[in-house]
């Protein structure tokens, strides 16, 4: 369908973008890569009065190091994230999850910041960001603030961003040595959303898991950490059945929904199975 009518502005700086968002209020929508917004507009599920296209703000793009932190601009495309040597070196889990997002043409346009601000619990990128304990930096009329990934997602398609704030960058602590990672995604067909996904990162020494981080895709209205599994994995032997036992509690404290793809019960089953697979692969 033809999208609904809207006003359009393409600011050239973050300050101008924030100003436009402040003027547009609740009726303004940010356009980054557009790979979530455009289908919403075409299917007439979104009716913004103003679209603020941030695609022409160069400072929002790119990957850099800042001491012990990897900084990725919000407008950096999935395609770039996947290939960036710094991301591969310091945030391999993010690259791994990003590789499963949609398809090449969508990854050419879709952006890291857009995928996070869209806050879809079926998205793969938010889960990786939550597993990696990233900080999300937003800029509003009063300056910048940093939001821990665990607090950023508040509900289905909802984040802590206020209407006059723009997500400008993602800061990832460099993990250091000994970490392995994996993203395990279950979907009915290629390029589809995850029915359930699991992002796992583990630090091993001498065949033992010292520390584990496990985050789940589509197991509730927001990406969520599998805390019980993480606790059970601390000190676990990689070789024995400790990983399988820890994975059995992966669905604890989650609130998966039922839809055409899966029942809540089946999702809980998937979370356990995929967590075992993801942690085993990460520890391998």
């Amino acid at each position: 369908m033809i999208p609904p009518s809207f006003e359009y502005t393409a600011p050239r700086s973050v300050e101008d973008a924030v100003r436009a968002l402040a003027e547009g209020g609740e009726e303004a929508k940010v356009l980054a890569g557009g790979q979530s917004l455009m289908p919403l507009l075409r299917m007439r599920l979104a009716f913004p009065e103003l679209v603020v296209d941030v695609g022409g703000i160069p400072e929002l793009r790119g990957v850099r190091e800042d001491g012990d932190t990897l900084v990725i601009g919000a407008l950096t495309t999935h395609h770039t994230v996947l290939r960036d040597p710094l991301v591969r070196r310091h945030a391999g889990l993010l690259a791994k999850a990003t590789a499963t997002v949609a398809d090449p043409a969508v990854r050419h346009r879709g952006t890291l910041g857009g995928a996070l601000a869209h806050a879809d619990p079926a998205g793969d990128v938010p889960t990786a960001i939550v597993a990696l304990d990233a900080e999300l930096v937003a800029q509003g009329p009063d300056g910048r603030r940093s939001i821990p990934a665990a607090e950023f997602f508040t509900d289905y398609l909802q984040s802590t961003l206020s209407p006059d704030e723009l997500l400008v960058e993602v800061r990832l602590p460099k993990p250091g040595d000994g970490w392995g990672f994996h993203y395990e995604k279950f979907r009915r067909a290629t390029q589809e959303w995850a029915v359930v996904g699991v992002a796992a990162a583990v630090r091993r020494t001498n065949g033992r898991i010292e520390e584990a981080r496990v985050a789940l895709t589509n197991m509730g209205p927001t990406p969520v950490r599998a805390r019980a599994t993480e606790a059970a994995l601390a000190g676990a032997d990689v070789a024995g059945d400790a990983i399988a036992r820890a994975a059995a509690s992966a669905a604890e404290g989650t609130a998966p929904g039922t839809d055409l793809a899966a029942s809540a019960e089946y999702r809980a089953h998937l979370a356990r199975v995929l967590t075992r697979r993801a942690v085993t692969a990460a520890a391998g």
């Binding site: 369908m1 033809i2 999208p3 609904p4 009518s5 809207f6 006003e7 359009y8 393409a10 356009l31 557009g34 790979q35 455009m38 289908p39 507009l41 075409r42 299917m43 679209v51 296209d53 695609g55 395609h79 949609a102 398809d103 090449p104 043409a105 969508v106 050419h108 346009r109 290629t190 390029q191």
Partner: protein, 166 residues
């Protein structure tokens, strides 16, 4: 209305467009370039894939205003001097289509794939085309056609003047 200027298949166009106008509608309805079809409303099918500044995109998921200042290549810009692009020839010879509806998108996605990976495995071709749906062929001949075109391009690189169109 917003003023845009862009190059499509080698020709520069200047226009006034509504912000909500999709690139695919601009190409088809305004420029008459109906070689690129519209297949779905959800961004899944890939039939409308075109090249935007060197990368494949789904032109149903890009606003015309976002393409301001850009260079677009559609399936209609693939052939040059009456000669089919190696991918077009390979799809023809290997029966890489039945109804043909997905073909323009398949060609553009395959062209992007080969630009990045000139010597793909069959599996890599399948992954590279995962954003393009074909409801007729079962993909077997599409994959064969892309592999054949890749082989031909490796053996007979395009003359330097045409590098950009390969």
């Amino acid at each position: 209305m917003h003023r845009i200027s862009l190059k499509v298949d080698g020709t520069t166009y200047e226009d006034h467009v509504e912000p909500r106008l999709l690139l695919i509608h601009y190409l088809r309805d305004r420029l008459g370039l109906t070689g690129t079809p519209i297949g779905c409303d959800t961004g899944n099918c890939g039939a409308c894939t075109v090249d935007l500044d060197g990368q494949s995109v789904k032109s149903c998921s890009v606003l015309a205003v976002q393409a301001d200042g850009s260079e677009v290549t559609t399936v209609e810009g693939l052939a040059s001097d009456g000669q089919w692009h190696p991918l077009q020839r390979a799809f023809h010879e290997r029966h890489g289509l039945q109804c043909g509806y997905c073909t323009p998108g398949m060609l553009m996605a395959a062209r992007d794939l080969l630009a990045e990976n000139p010597d793909p495995t069959a599996d890599e071709v399948r992954h590279g085309l995962e954003g393009n749906l074909c409801r007729c062929t079962g993909y077997q001949n599409i994959v064969r056609a892309v592999l054949a075109a890749a082989r031909e391009q490796r053996e007979q690189p395009a003359p330097s003047g045409e590098e950009a169109s390969v």
